[in-house]
């Protein structure tokens, strides 16, 4: 008969279990405090609640009972703020929300942006991807960096979030594909110029996959680190269902932000 000496709990179970507490991480309802119209397709919802420990780049799952649940990047965490483009049935239902209505939230989830140890990071957003950039800029400013933001859209109407960035004192370069506002062309054009002129030491990007791939190319060519936020269809958001896999990576827990080290092939 072997002797059953109790093991110290700490040694037995490292690291600690996910600290969910007795109530778990069920969706909880937050009142809509304010709805801001960004353009015909995009609205920003300021909710009555905080996620003080959330970081830029992380996302929450938003649920409307009877509809769906889907991921949205945090545009801000105190108060919880989401910028939502109406693209399908669920996001259209969200756009019907008014001040005083409720939206159910669980999270935050996912890997956030982490400050690169550089002085001049470039922040690049396309479409509703601009949403988390002001939140990110704020944390980079807080550690003494001087970010520059690049905001792209097809037309002037599609360009959102510029005022929020400017209010933080962040210079913003605007591009539109039709030239109706700012520089004409894709947002990657001025980014490439900044990198070529040595005016950018790291890239942060949120937006369509085409834009992210172009940014990854630029980061490689200029040997700067890049942190890019990749979107995929998400189911559980906690690393179990496998639906958000992108080339072997589970974007809900290993992303959405993925870092590309300088010199990665």
């Amino acid at each position: 008969m072997k002797e059953f000496a109790p093991l110290p709990l700490q040694a037995e179970c490292q690291p600690a279990l996910r600290p969910t507490g007795p109530f778990g991480l069920v969706p909880r309802p937050l009142r809509v405090r304010e709805v801001q119209r960004e353009n015909a397709r995009i609205r920003t919802f300021v909710l009555d609640g905080e996620l003080p420990h959330a970081q830029p780049g992380q996302f929450v799952m938003a649920w409307l009972p009877g509809h769906e649940e889907a991921p949205f990047s945090l545009a801000y965490h105190r108060p919880v703020t989401l910028t939502v483009a109406a693209v399908g049935p669920f996001t259209r239902a969200m756009h019907r929300l008014e001040a005083g209505d409720r939206l159910w939230i669980r999270g935050p989830y996912g890997q956030p942006f982490r400050p690169e140890p550089v002085g001049r990071p470039l922040l690049v957003g396309g479409g509703y991807g601009v949403a988390p950039l002001a939140f990110l800029a704020e944390t980079l400013l807080a550690v003494g960096q001087q970010p520059v933001a690049f905001v792209g859209g097809r037309t002037a109407e599609d360009v959102i979030g510029v005022k929020r960035l400017q209010a933080l004192g962040v210079p913003v370069v605007v591009t539109t594909e039709d030239g109706s506002l700012g520089e004409a062309g894709l947002v990657t054009k001025p980014v490439a110029r900044f990198l070529a002129e040595g005016r950018g030491e790291a890239l942060y990007g949120v937006g369509p996959h085409g834009m992210l791939r172009a940014l990854a190319e630029l980061a490689r060519a200029h040997r700067v680190p890049a942190q890019l936020s990749w979107e995929a269809y998400m189911g559980c958001a906690v690393g179990l269902c496998g639906m958000c896999e992108h080339e072997g990576v589970l974007l809900c827990v290993e992303g959405p932000v993925r870092r590309l080290a300088p010199g990665t092939p």
Binding site: M1, K2, E3, F4, A5, L7, A11, E12, C13, Q14, P15, L17, R18, T20, G21, P22, F23, G24, L25, V26, P27, R28, P29, M61, W63, P65, G66, E68, E69, A70, R102, W104, R106, M234, G235, C236, A237, V238, G239, L240, C241, G242, M243, E245, E247, G248, L250, V253, E254
Partner: protein
Amino acid sequence: MPEEVELDLSVDLCGVRLPNPFVLASGILGTSETLLEKAARLGAGAVTAKSAGAQPRRGHANPIVVDWGAGLINAVGLPNPGARREAELLAAAKAHLAPLGVPPKMLAMRGTPDEFAEVARTVLRAEPDILELNISCPNVHDEYGEPFAASCAGAVSVVEAVRPVCTVPLFVKLAPNVPNIGRIAADVVAAGADGITAINTMPGMVIDVESGQPVLTNRSGGLSGPALKPIALYCVYEIARAVPGVPIIGTGGITTGRDAVEMLMAGATAVGVGSAVYYRGLEAFQHLQEELTAFMRAHGYTRVRQLRGLAHRPVQKPQEVPEQ
């Protein structure tokens, strides 16, 4: 006690050797060959592909998983690309896994016993090392009716249909919510099953009191995680009693190495790991292995197999404990 003796973590499931007892449970990360390989690289001793049906299936709408405090509840709804694509996935996974010495396992699920046999035939072309029949998914009730695992006759009908076409060890995954799981295990073994996987999730519901609605779109779902562990231990104990010697993959709420030890002591040969990937992160397999190893060292075990079924020994009064 001699330090750092070489420990043998390997286990044998009907002649299939697993480098360690931890089996990636079905439904977790089993959606692609790259994820199956990832699980193996992260330390799984065997991996299970997600259940396949004859035709592709989309699964339920979100929310599909919720952490309600003492465990998870899920109703993913068996999304799968269909048996043909699943066979390709499995063949690719097998090639990736061979160098790691990790066997892939396959799940089959579909309406009638004949459809089970059809799916089995298709996925067996990929030569998985083990075929596991999922006759107990609680979340597709509306389309498929009561799970076959709910009765001896139902469970046996599927095994009898699949056995003749199955060329590899055949495991059957049983449901916990039956009056006598031991009897069902005995009947499916008599019908030709080589091993038992127990247990599937337990049917349950979580209600959002603010909206007055169940949280899951499917309304009900399957409970997993820590809350399930004592139920799983009991079921495995009962099965081990009913079919002694038949290999059991004990699954349900295993989150720590100590949980795994309990499961082995209840009579499991190998241990399924699912929700632990949520509670411990993708490193769960690594943590479980380290904790199991630490337990074995601290208690002088050298082989995982020594733990199997210890809880079945008759009670020994202290004075009767034999001297070592």
